[in-house]
């Protein structure tokens, strides 16, 4: 069935679930996808999102991706070795995260989910600072204010509203419409999260209050074992239009395209034309987390297909083929990656163990006396063991 014609109707099919799924598959490479660097490492022109970029800048993006991938792999290994309780791999999503992270200005604020290690990297949050969560010693140790990178948010979709509220505050503070010094907010969430009511309410609030927020959806094709057709019939970027703001789809494995599109979107927000929705089409190349077993729900073929679209490889090929970087660059980077991995490993094994007082720490800015009493009681009880009372 083709599009339904009718003056008063908005609908562009397809209709049956079969067609829908076929449609989804098709569109993840379709015409509507912004791409400026092909999987083969070829630059291609784009009417709106062409990007002038120097060799040094491309090298820097590549370096980011290599290092964060290495950090990710190391963390995954550390989990296997029992040093971390859990890890949520970013493998495959480096371009989406580095492109978006590097599009941000220092004054911008990011609201991540739990997988945005690449964005954290761009905001100056060292991978070691992420480890506390996954080792079980804290719930986010970095400073969200100085980094412009909020704490990880585990309740899927909840951060959409926080980002929107924050962006409403940026507008109330008069921080938009002032050129390059203007502020914007960017919110990261997944294809699965798009189904949550909170994400919808974030779209509603952001559009009604003209909030300078970029909704950056990393569509990595999976929400644990749920493939995209469990969340939608049509590409997710199309949601935006129904709220009266632009939705755009970018090749999430093309770091240059992501950078260009996200820069544009943030600029739109800075000038007061927010919000904007970006759907970055990418792929979760590893398990959902180290607790997950993807062989139960997806075929190895799929991964092989996506390996051909690897976000790092295409940049490497481009740098080499165009003579934009030589062996010394790649060698230096390999050494740097090894060094990073070593540092992470070392840090991880030397992390402090919190004592029982941590349970009662900083629950309230103005703690009530009852809490202090409970704390004192428990610490005394605890100490009695050390003293051999028990």
């Amino acid at each position: 069935m083709g599009p339904i014609v009718g003056a008063a109707m908005e609908f562009d099919g397809p209709h049956s679930p079969q067609q829908v799924i076929a449609g989804l598959r098709a569109t993840s490479e379709g015409e509507d996808l912004v791409q400026v660097l092909t999987p083969e490492g070829q630059r291609v022109a784009h009417p709106q999102f062409d990007l002038e970029i120097s060799a040094a800048e491309i090298q820097a993006l590549y370096r980011d991706m290599v290092l964060i991938r290495r950090a990710d792999r190391e963390a995954n290994a550390l989990q296997r070795q029992g040093q971390l309780g859990l890890w949520a791999p970013l493998l495959g999503q480096e371009a989406a995260q580095i492109g978006a992270g590097r599009a941000m200005a220092p004054q911008d604020m990011a609201f991540p989910s739990y997988r945005e290690h690449g964005v954290a990297w761009c905001r100056g949050v060292d991978p070691t600072e992420l480890f506390g969560i996954f080792r079980g010693i804290d719930q986010g140790s970095w400073d969200p204010v100085s980094t412009g990178f909020q704490l990880y948010s585990i309740v899927v979709g909840s951060q959409g509203l926080h980002a929107t509220g924050y962006a409403m505050g940026q507008r109330l503070d008069g921080k938009i419409g002032n050129g390059e010094t203007s502020e914007a907010t960017i919110c990261f969430f997944g294809d699965g999260a798009s189904s949550q009511g909170d994400v919808h309410e974030a779209f509603v609030w952001a559009s009604v209050y003209d909030a300078p927020v970029v909704f950056f959806c990393q569509n990595n094709q999976w929400a644990i074992s749920a493939s995209l057709d469990r969340q939608t019939r049509v590409p997710l970027y199309r949601r935006a239009r129904g709220y009266g703001f632009p939705g755009i789809r970018v090749d999430g494995n093309d770091v240059l395209a992501v950078l260009s599109v996200t820069r544009w979107a943030l600029r739109e927000c800075r000038t007061g034309n927010g919000p904007v929705l970006i759907e970055a089409c990418t792929y979760r190349m590893d398990a959902h987390t180290t607790s997950d077993d993807p062989t139960r729900y997806r075929l190895a073929d799929e991964l092989e297909e996506w390996k051909l679209k690897d976000p790092l490889e295409r940049v490497r090929v481009h740098l080499v083929r165009e003579g934009l970087a030589g062996p010394e660059f790649f060698d230096g980077l390999a050494t740097e990656a090894d060094e990073l991995a070593r540092r992470l490993r070392e840090y991880c094994t030397s992390m402090p163990v919190p004592g029982p007082e941590r349970i009662f720490s900083k629950i309230y800015a103005e703690p009530p006396p009852s809490l202090a009493a409970a704390r004192a009681d428990y610490l005394a009880y605890h100490a009695s063991f050390a003293e051999g009372e028990h």
């Binding site: 400073d143 704490l151 009530p368």
Partner: protein, 329 residues
């Protein structure tokens, strides 16, 4: 300034106004809080005087209200959110329990959540379903929140300001059936701190039982105490004011003197804050109690249709009946 006689509703309204004047970061948000001034007119005139940037008529969605308030707080604002009726706080439950209550702890003090969530609550106004609920125990059971309830116009005026000044999230329960009850407010008299219970009717040496209540039930209990006095029974009455954390020192103190305790609340008793309170007093005052702690509460049933609410709500008779019972021990 001379004392003024104002309603509880006006106490809140004046308190909100004072807080907004005091701190430009205070903003009010919710459904219909702007032009309409809220369905109960608690925010009456605020948008007119402080503008649309500080009094926001929001889209219809409670999760959206609380979730964006969290974001605004991260940006340095002090949002005061109105939930239109008690029964509509539940769509915001996730944002309140997993987010608002957690940011300070999650960030180990790096982030603060000075957000007030105002909830008109309780029955007795002849309303349709979802408009007469008493959901305070859900929040009292949630670490990271402070939960309070005012019972009269003077407390309304001060407590709302103290809640707004507090750097922690406060769930602020307003006894809607008491909105129109009046009291004399003298702003020159300093208020007690926010998180304190108060002995609102001392019983003196003759007191034979303590009655604890909060919010809408304080008035009912005071009326019961007046009747009991005519029958020669002296009751001591405590207004909890803070529901989480509980401030039990005045309760322990009173029970140690009277030897008997009755706890009154509109909410269902099962797994309620009143149950916890009774348990703690039973434990703490084990040797002082001459009778078991009795509870007079709503039933463990959904709030009934309005024509049954007189039977559902604890009233003078049920409280006096409980007094009779504890005195029989």
């Amino acid at each position: 300034m001379t004392p003024q006689t104002i309603t509880l509703a006006k106490g809140l309204n004046h308190g909100l106004r004072a807080a907004m004047e005091h701190d430009p970061k205070v903003i009010v948000m919710g459904e219909d809080v702007g032009k309409l001034g809220g369905v109960f007119r608690i925010t009456d005139g605020l948008q007119k005087d402080f503008g649309e940037q500080r009094v926001l008529d929001t889209p219809l969605g409670e999760s959206g209200i609380i979730g964006t308030a969290v974001g605004l707080a991260l940006r340095g604002y002090r949002p005061v959110c109105e939930i239109q009726f008690d029964g509509f706080v539940f769509p915001a439950f996730d944002q309140i329990v997993t987010q608002l209550a957690r940011f300070h702890y999650r960030s180990q003090g790096k982030l603060r959540m000075p957000v007030v969530v105002r909830v008109p609550y309780g029955g007795g106004i002849g309303a349709v379903e979802h408009h007469s609920e008493s959901p305070e125990s859900y929040f009292a059971h949630t670490p990271g929140l402070k939960v309070v309830s005012c019972a009269n116009a003077v407390d309304a005026y001060w407590m709302i300001q103290q809640a707004i000044a507090c750097d922690d999230p406060v769930i602020f329960f307003e006894p809607k059936r008491r909105y129109w009850e009046k009291a004399s407010l003298d702003v020159a008299v300093a208020p007690p701190p926010l998180l304190r219970s108060r002995l609102v009717r001392p019983g003196g040496p003759a007191a034979v039982a303590t009655v604890v209540a909060y919010g809408p039930m304080v008035r009912t209990v005071l009326d019961a105490a007046a009747v009991a006095e005519q029958d020669g029974t002296q009751l001591e009455v405590i207004d909890l004011r803070t529901l989480s954390p509980l401030d039990l020192a005045p309760v322990f103190d009173s029970v140690r003197r009277t030897g008997r305790l009755i706890c009154v609340s509109e909410a269902p008793g099962e797994a309620s804050l009143i149950g916890d309170l009774a348990a703690r007093v039973s434990q703490e005052c084990f040797y002082s109690l001459e009778a078991p702690v009795l509870r007079v509460t709503g039933f463990d049933t959904p709030y009934p249709p309005a024509k049954c609410e007189e039977d559902y709500l604890p009233d003078l008779d049920r409280i006096l009946d409980a007094v009779d019972q504890v005195l029989r021990y």
